[in-house]
């Protein structure tokens, strides 16, 4: 983007703009595009979800407005805009007003580090992953504000639940990403994506694997367990079934959104769907190689890159389109899974949710961090770090040993943990009564 703006300003119009003006303009343009993309994603996702879940329930879903109901979300948005904005008399007016903004703004920030295609990352921060999660944690403040300012018991209860849930599930999410970060040795999202070239085996682990763009993390045991744990945590972060407790309509009406109407409610809705999109996207990025896929790397190699400054620009476009297609396809596939889960499961109770996060997911991800260390040891370390004994196995052999070891550890951990957790959860009636034995009568 910088190059294009620079070319237009300084070469075509010969304005002689300073470097920072050029970068400001180019960043603003990118930001505008992303800012427009976010609501469109929300509009599309609501439609997509409603049609999908309807099909899962043997229904048809909205199909009246526009072809196949395509404009249903637009109609909903218009309705949302034109509704009366209600502020409860006892509410804290300013906080009530600010809360939706505080919730929406971070989700917009998070777009800054998403890689849409090769060379199409808005900002390649070297701490991109950390940025993503740091920013996502801000919206918890907004939820708290919304719940408190509404002056409603249901709102406050919902906000407390939402915040407790978000804060709790950030830990397993971070821990499962820690395993990936240990393997790549970088927090940069671009590096993580780059690492996932290969064919079922990453070419970064084993040199000489053909790079078809399929060396995703999910294909190794560490990555798979991390993926499962992360996706579950993402469901909780995005308040999706079975963790949609903060807005459990059968219990606390609509949680922190109870006292919101019209556009402010629309903003919450926007934030939620955009967050869901982002969580699906980041899952696709970290575990499924974002834009990686057959053909993208080859096309990109022919385009203009830092290594190959005199390539053909059209190949950049082609690689970008293909990469963005792969990326969005994976993202929507994850959203499909979210909807699928929503279609299949009831929701947990709030104490069960906390138990699940703290007593099951966190230990499991801790074991996975241990596995990741083994993986890194076998694949990346040499004699210097004390892994000289593995050298004679060769790259592939070391990979295989690491694979078998981590697979065994992870499966064992999964079964043992599930058993222990399951036993503690399944308090039979007799045990429940035995628990009363010590009670004062």
């Amino acid at each position: 983007m910088y190059d294009v703006v620079d070319y237009v300003l300084n070469t075509t119009f010969n304005l002689g703009a300073a470097g920072w003006v050029v970068s400001l303009i180019s960043y603003l343009m990118i930001a505008t595009v992303l800012f427009l993309v976010a609501p469109l994603q929300m509009l599309f996702l609501t439609y997509y979800e409603r049609r999908l879940i309807a099909r899962m329930q043997d229904r048809v879903g909205p199909n009246r407005v526009g072809p196949e109901g395509m404009f249903q979300p637009v109609a909903d948005a218009v309705k949302m805009f034109t509704k009366e904005d209600i502020i409860p008399a006892a509410a804290d007016k300013w906080v009530h007003l600010l809360a939706p903004l505080v919730v929406v703004a971070p989700t917009m920030f998070m777009f800054a580090v998403l890689p849409w295609g090769p060379g199409m990352t808005p900002i390649d921060m070297h701490i991109g992953l950390l940025f993503f999660f740091a920013v996502s944690s801000i919206s918890a403040v907004g939820l708290m504000m919304a719940g408190w300012a509404s002056y409603n018991k249901f709102s406050l209860l919902g906000a407390m639940r939402a915040v407790a849930q978000m804060v709790s599930y950030e830990i397993p999410a971070m821990l499962s990403l820690l395993a990936i970060v240990m393997i790549t040795g970088s927090l940069s999202i671009v590096d993580i994506v780059q690492w996932q070239g290969g064919l079922f085996i990453s070419s970064s682990d084993v040199a000489g694997v053909p790079n078809w763009g399929l060396g995703w993390f999910v294909f190794n045991p560490v990555g798979f367990l991390a993926f499962a744990a992360f996706f579950i945590a993402a469901l909780a972060e995005g308040e999706r079934t079975p963790f949609d407790i903060p807005e459990a309509d059968s219990e606390i009406v609509a949680g922190y959104m109870t006292e919101y109407s019209g556009m402010k409610f629309g903003l919450f809705f926007l934030a939620q769907y955009v967050l869901n999109f982002l969580l699906c996207a980041i899952t696709a990025v970290i575990f499924f190689g974002a834009w990686q896929g057959p053909g993208v790397n080859e096309l990109y190699a022919l385009g203009i890159t830092p290594d190959n400054p005199d390539g053909n620009g059209w190949f950049n476009v082609l690689a970008g389109v293909l990469g963005a297609f792969y990326f969005l396809f994976k993202t929507y596939a994850f959203f499909f899974v979210m909807v699928w889960i929503r279609g299949a499961f009831p929701r947990l109770r709030v104490d069960q949710l906390m138990d699940f996060g703290w007593k099951y997911l966190i230990p499991l991800t801790l074991v996975n961090v241990f596995s990741a260390a083994i993986w890194v040891g076998f694949n990346n370390w040499g004699a210097n770090e004390g892994f000289g004994f593995a050298e004679p196995l060769g790259d592939l052999g070391r990979w295989a040993v690491a694979f078998v070891l981590t697979l065994a550890i992870n499966i064992a951990a999964y079964i043992v943990m599930t058993r222990i957790y399951g036993e503690t959860r399944r308090v039979t009636f007799d045990e429940q009564l035995a628990d009363t034995a010590g009670l004062p009568s």
Partner: protein, 217 residues
């Protein structure tokens, strides 16, 4: 470029200080906490301006994402937050003000007048093994497992101790907690009491005569 940075700096300074003043001046403790979050955010942005990206992100993650949430939780769990009809400050708040202003004067005078801070970053030939440029996350990570390993471990232990300590302090002992008996538990207890007093009357109602269902075991 420089002007832009200066403008940004002043805006940030205004945010940090203004929000800080609001933190101590606002009556409603929730508003106070929200202003505190604003101040934290300003500090985080200042870190970004100072090119400490990692610290900026950690600031947001820890302060905005965790500490402020903790504070908000603590406020909501403790009391009515409006603060209406109560004294906001101690009776001798002017003393505190005096101390603060004196300290500020004492610190700032030598800073601005006596010392020349016109420091030039060390340039010159870079020795082999010395880092180049501005240290980032990578160098920090290296540092934590080499140079500052002990410090890092101590920080970890500190956090663990704080975690356990917080739980121990805030934990309500089991027998002090209110236990609401469910119907089944209550019934079981009553049954046991009856059993101890009258060993005979413990059969369930099923075997009572006159039950409509004739049953054979």
């Amino acid at each position: 470029m420089e002007l832009l940075i200066q403008i940004i700096f002043f805006l940030l300074a205004a945010l940090i200080l203004g929000a800080g003043v609001m933190v101590v001046a606002v009556r409603n403790i929730i508003h106070s906490a929200l202003w505190l979050i604003g101040s934290f955010f300003g500090v985080g942005a200042l870190y970004l301006l100072l090119e400490a990206e990692f610290l900026a992100v950690v600031q947001v993650l820890v302060y905005v994402g965790a500490v402020s949430i903790l504070i908000l939780f603590a406020i909501m769990l403790t009391r009515d937050v409006s603060g209406q009809g109560e004294r906001l400050l101690f009776q001798r708040w002017w003393l505190a003000l005096l101390v603060a202003i004196t300290l500020f004067a004492a610190v700032i005078t030598p800073t601005l007048l006596a010392q020349s801070w016109n420091v030039v970053p060390p340039t010159g030939p870079i020795e082999p093994g010395q880092p180049t440029g501005i240290a980032g996350a990578l160098e920090l990570g290296r540092g934590f497992v080499h140079e500052f390993l002990l410090h890092f471990e101590i920080a970890g232990v500190l956090l663990l101790v704080a975690l356990i300590g917080a739980i121990v302090i805030a934990f309500e002992e089991r027998n002090r907690r209110r236990k609401v008996l469910t119907l089944a538990e209550e019934h079981e207890l009553r049954k046991r009491r009856e059993q101890t007093s009258d060993a005979n009357a413990s059969e369930s109602a099923l075997s009572a005569p006159g039950h409509p269902i004739s049953q054979s075991e």
